[in-house]
């Protein structure tokens, strides 16, 4: 849905169409429109600039107008919503329309239906995902955009069934949406084929057979929120296929088949909230684990604990691990000269949040550390609400690690400080 070359006049045209609606909406009982204007700026602090067309000290510089329009029926439980951002990228001086969500809701009996572009989040991890197989924008996350931008909408159909025995949620997604990953234009990052300029991408075609299915069954069992999950679709992070490993001239990004089966549980315990989640990633295109281009199957789990420390202060800790299957097959098939992953990868997170002055100030610190990779990401953040409308957030992303190809270590030269200012209307 992100289209890069939109003429400014097109945006003006859309705005002119919408603005009378805004005025009209305020007088109509069945429509409301609101939104915000936001500026997001993130500057690299390492004094280095990646080469390329977008070479700049900035990882991010943009202004964003959010319009969120809702209409609903008085006689039946039905509603429609469009949540769109009109974005000006100051680095490239390009305009863009980011349709965050656009859907129609209808409720009847025990069923809730949603058709259209929508955002979904599953699982119990704090910024660690196992059964949340939905698309994510890692560029937004690594350059300090507000957290809601970590999630990307997907175009599909959702059915939810609610009852006392079991609740169920089924997503049918015919249109594949990959994760948005950092590119060498704006990030220093690890690329095993950095010397190969020719690139191609093969996304799963929008065929009936490629339609992604994601199912969650959930209910409360005694005092525990329990969910089980099943997903059939594709890895959202691309795999790389060189035309040959010895002297590649073309590298193709593709998205191998994936199924995920998992469960999660969350309950109030030990004076806080205890979370557990696990999942099995079945890499269907590499069942034997001997294809070096495709990730092996793996098991993932996490445990988390969150509690109140004192008034308006909270603490969260998590331990997350990935265990690769058929590790010896992976080792034996890895081409020489390429980094070798460990069989057991883990991450520890630590979060502390503190609210001050009637919650107008929020201080927070999120730390990721991987014992297996010996790398880290630190995310300190300060937010202040000037009023109910105006808020500002100042923060940083600090990366480090022993090796330049690990998850966080590869971004060592991308340490950044960001500022985000938002005015709600």
């Amino acid at each position: 849905m992100r289209s890069k070359d939109i003429h400014p006049a097109a945006i003006l045209f859309v705005l002119l169409l919408i603005l009378p609606g805004v005025a009209f909406g305020q007088n109509n009982r069945n429509v409301d429109i609101n939104g915000f204007l936001m500026g997001n700026f993130s500057g690299r602090t390492t004094g280095q600039r990646p080469n390329g067309d977008e070479s700049s000290d900035f990882l991010l510089a943009e202004e964003r107008l959010r319009l969120d329009a809702n209409a609903w029926s008085e006689s039946i439980e039905a509603s429609a919503r469009v949540k769109a951002d009109f974005v000006h990228d100051a680095i490239t001086n390009e305009f863009d329309i980011d349709i965050r969500e656009a859907y129609i809701d209808y409720t009847t009996g025990d069923f809730d239906f949603r058709l259209g572009r929508q955002i979904a989040t599953w699982g119990v991890g704090d910024l660690l995902f196992i059964n949340d197989v939905f698309p994510k924008n890692w560029v937004a996350f690594l350059s300090g955009m507000p957290l809601e931008y970590l999630k990307i909408g997907m175009d599909g159909f959702r059915t939810r069934y609610s009852s006392n025995i079991v609740n169920a949620e089924l997503f049918v997604i015919p249109f594949f949406e990959p994760d948005n990953l950092p590119t060498p234009d704006r990030f220093f990052l690890f690329d095993a084929f950095a010397q190969v300029p020719a690139r191609d991408e093969e996304k799963p075609a929008a065929t009936y057979g490629n339609t992604e299915l994601a199912l969650r069954l959930y209910r409360k069992i005694s005092d525990i929120d329990v969910s089980i999950y099943a997903y059939r679709g594709f890895w959202r992070t691309p795999s790389m296929r060189p035309d040959n490993f010895v002297s590649p001239t073309l590298v193709t990004a593709f998205y191998p088949a994936l199924s995920v089966y998992g469960m999660s549980a969350q309950e109030s315990a030990l004076g806080g909230v205890l979370s557990f989640e696990a999942g099995y990633y079945d890499s269907r295109d590499d069942e034997d684990g001997d294809d070096p281009e495709i990730p092996n199957s793996q098991a993932r789990f996490l445990v988390g604990y969150q509690r109140q420390l004192w008034q308006d202060a909270s603490l969260g800790v998590q331990y997350y691990a990935e265990i690769m299957e058929d590790y010896s097959a992976y080792r034996n098939s890895s081409p020489a000269g390429f980094p070798v992953q460990k069989e057991y990868q883990d991450v520890v997170t630590f979060r502390i949040d503190k609210l001050l002055e009637h919650q107008t100030w929020k201080l927070s610190m999120m730390c990721f550390y991987s014992p297996a990779d010996n790398d880290y990401l630190l995310q300190p953040q300060v937010s202040y609400k000037f009023s109910d409308n105006l808020a500002a957030t100042l923060g940083a992303n600090v990366f480090g690690g022993q090796r330049d190809w690990t998850s966080f270590g590869q971004f060592e030269k991308d340490d950044n400080v960001y500022l985000s200012v938002r005015y709600d209307f």
């Binding site: 025995i165 469960m263 806080g272 098991a299 107008t360 409308n389």
Partner: protein, 293 residues
């Protein structure tokens, strides 16, 4: 492929437990509940009984409730922030378990958020927050009863009530305040609390708190609650009409900082016949339009 087998086994087990898990039946509610008034036998009430009755009058009126709430946070210089929400409450048993559902309309950064509490007087509450921007429901830690509710001068405990047995209560005197005949009860906290001592003026007729003074560890007054408007909300029709006295305007003022919070309840409705299912993940994600419009 061994891991896969384990997973399938675990999932199968969880799936089975879904089928066998039974919801505990909710206790029957006494039909046709009426507001309690002063002890009819004429026997003097103990301080604890007064506080218990007061909690029931203030937090447990009728069987369920829906209200629009406007909360104004006013700092010492007069700067104002506003929170607008819809609150629904269901009592499972009188003085016992309750469920709360709070939907935020304003300000913009919390619009459509829903906060749900299953309150248990005997143990820690269950709390969930729905974050609409990412369509996520997460459980939140409930050990922070003293923390501020949405930045206001009210704590979580002020919003849903404090366990009566967490304090020891003494009847100090009976006196008239702001035109109401009141019991004056002192409550001293036995467990960790935001205050060490609370003095409450409780109206004899309705058992509603008219004024509360909170004292800190240095025995200094730091917070004052006042009931600024009491209305009788009518329930039922014809001969079955009952009026529930309700504090529809209240203020909590922090004496030390000069910050205060004024709360106005509009369109209070009792006995809507809310159901247990209304306080669910489903309703958090998609509240019926009759609740929120």
């Amino acid at each position: 492929m061994r891991t896969k087998t384990y997973f399938v086994a675990i999932l199968g087990f969880v799936l089975c437990s879904f089928a066998f898990a039974q919801e505990a039946p909710s206790p029957d509610k006494p039909p046709g509940k009426e507001p309690e008034t002063q002890s009819s036998s004429g026997a003097p009430l103990s301080a604890k009984a007064i506080i218990e009755r007061s909690q029931r009058a203030f937090y447990y009126a009728a069987d369920d409730m829906k209200a629009s709430i406007k909360m104004e946070l006013v700092d010492k210089d007069g700067g104002t922030r506003t929170r607008v929400m819809t609150m629904l409450r269901l009592d499972e048993s009188e003085g016992g378990n309750q469920k709360y559902f709070i939907y935020f309309h304003e300000p913009g950064d919390v619009r459509r958020m829903v906060f749900m509490v299953w309150k248990y007087p005997e143990k820690e509450d269950d709390r969930w927050l729905f974050i609409p921007a990412v369509d996520l429901i997460r459980r939140i830690a409930a050990d922070d009863k003293r923390s501020s509710f949405v930045g206001s001068d009210f704590t979580y405990e002020d919003v849903s009530g404090r366990d009566v047995s967490a304090d020891s209560h003494t009847l100090l005197r009976e006196e008239k305040t702001a035109g109401h005949d009141c019991f004056v009860v002192q409550s001293t906290s036995k467990t960790a609390a935001e205050y060490t001592k609370r003095v409450s003026w409780i109206e004899k007729k309705t058992f509603l708190p008219i004024r509360e003074e909170y004292f800190d560890a240095q025995e200094q007054l730091f917070r004052v609650f006042t009931a600024d408007r009491i209305e009788s909300i009518t329930v039922g029709e014809g001969g079955n009409k009952t009026g529930w006295p309700t504090v529809t305007k209240r203020t909590m003022k922090n004496i030390k900082t000069g910050h205060r919070t004024e709360v106005v309840l509009n369109s209070v409705t009792y006995n809507l016949e809310l159901k247990d299912d209304d306080f669910s993940e489903r309703r958090m994600r998609r509240p019926p339009s009759s609740w929120i419009r």
